[in-house]
Symmetry: C2
Amino acid sequence: MRDVAIIGVGINKWGELWEKSLRDIAVEASLKAISDTKIDHIDSMFIGCMSSGLFTGQEHIASVITDYLGHGHIPASRLESACASGGVAFRTGFAEVTAGLSDIVLVLGVEKMTDVSGDEATYALGTAADQEYESYNGATFPGLYAMMARRHMHEYKTTRRQLSLVAVKNHAHGVKNPNAQFRMEVTAEQVENSVRVADPLRILDCSPITDGAAAVILAPLSMAKKLTDKPLVKILGIGHATDTIALQSRETLCALSAVEKAASIAYKVAQVKPADINLAEVHDCFTIAEIMVSEALGFAEPGQGGKLVESGTTALGGKIPLNTSGGLKSKGHPVGATGVAQIVEITEQLRQESGPRQVKKARIGLAQNMGGTGGSSTVSILKSC
Amino acid sequence: MRDVAIIGVGINKWGELWEKSLRDIAVEASLKAISDTKIDHIDSMFIGCMSSGLFTGQEHIASVITDYLGHGHIPASRLESACASGGVAFRTGFAEVTAGLSDIVLVLGVEKMTDVSGDEATYALGTAADQEYESYNGATFPGLYAMMARRHMHEYKTTRRQLSLVAVKNHAHGVKNPNAQFRMEVTAEQVENSVRVADPLRILDCSPITDGAAAVILAPLSMAKKLTDKPLVKILGIGHATDTIALQSRETLCALSAVEKAASIAYKVAQVKPADINLAEVHDCFTIAEIMVSEALGFAEPGQGGKLVESGTTALGGKIPLNTSGGLKSKGHPVGATGVAQIVEITEQLRQESGPRQVKKARIGLAQNMGGTGGSSTVSILKSC
């Protein structure tokens, strides 16, 4: 197995991109990543995308995107694992390089979500839950996460204010990110007075509907120096795991076992501990998700994720900043793109290129991506060389 | 890179399986493949599925299927490349084992297509073409393949009768396959008098809408003997390539360059020539497709695929039998399952387990899977050990 480096990254401005199609934003991010390197070709491509079929009426996007990117004929596949699609595409690209099947691999994440109505988008997102036992009975994603939040509040005395502080922090970070969809500060009071979606979750507890793409280019570490002028970032380890699709099948609503499992694999392979991580991008699709993920990753004891955000530890300047990009909450959440965008943010941080949101002396970073209510998760650990 | 073997295969009876859901048929085929081995666990899973979102309202099927299979927590991803989804899942599973990331990998292909109306299924299948430039302008898949057929007839004097003979041959094979959807002989006259779909293609030139699943289990060749009592089959090489998504962007309608490219890679890696292949499963989604694929794989000169089928060379007992399973035409075409089912058929043939449709002395077999009108393709070459 060969060591693998990230030699280029690219992301576009996220938001409601009415004037652009899926293929437009996919090509835009891919070309930015290519321009970040000195490569003259790509050997293969892996694309994370959750539901181009339901959102845009286009499957077979690997053929579409290599074609429009001008790289026709290369092997290209789409990976899907709901909102963890980007993370699994990244893991699959890593496998391709480490196996020696390809040298230069483009991993793209993309989702075009605003070409359908709000109802249609809610339906499409609901396909990440158990359609037979959850969605068809009326459960929406905010509804499912609301149940997890309510139970976490009951078990661990997590407060409504702690949920709000996740949104406050991530929006404060997002203001510093020119590619973020919602670059605005919010206060805890604004979160708590925003429209109720599924009690206790308010609209400002929820990540938005977003169009966006992100791309990274991988190569064997041994070849990487010749292929880029940028500082190298090495992939130390990737963990991937699944959990039951439906909430009712789990032992508890208050833990994310797929995240715990993926993290334990990643830490083991990377030979690092949670305390070694300088910053992380985590899957804050709802404010409660970041709290629960911070526990599953070992940044807080079980049940103590609310106190962790309250303490300021996870803000820029704290000991373990979470979601310096603004996270899904402020940067936006084009579902299939999110996992790759997390890698882009960590890479830029490890290269010391993040400007006003730079984490000082960032050397080891972690990206955690999650599908559905935690039915799948990837955890990737990166290190500056 | 480690050598990889196929240690188990499983497939269920294909057809209109009204009484079974996607998860039912996925688990059924997976358990059959597991029972074909002596394994006590699976390390990871890769699932080929084209459009579970549009066909069943369920994405995130990697979580659903590992959960219902009783293998929760293992890494699992879904691969999509339209009707080549099964082929790319097989290639990705191979990469996982050869890289050393997993030892025992389950590759599943599945599609549940009959839970929607015929119009909805036609729409879902149309998402494999270019939605912006083909489907939205009214082109259906039979329409696109009809243009390819018409041009092939014009350029190479391919006859209507030669198209029919593909259907006649594959149905004759399918009669010998207990898992085939349409186990009936058809005559050339019946094909030519069947309902016109898109001239010159008749309904009996088209593969059907099918529910079905197929599974194979991979392991490093060095461990394989301990994990199964069945004869071992080694993966000699896999090629994968893409082409333009839309027909109008191609230099010719009469060649499948993704298939040619994938085949050239597979032959090179496997170190074999077309003449070394004892049998092949090829992507006969329409009768013209088998004719064009037989040329792209080097079994016939360009333009001579019609004469090849007419000569009997590709029938059971001929020099290079194509689609002994019945092919997509008679066995059925659950789009994401097809690529994996081809591997099941070749594996059983190489193990000499195919009963009345056994190819004598079969030692090297090839499986060719294709997405859309050839926008993507995989070619896998297998050998008995």
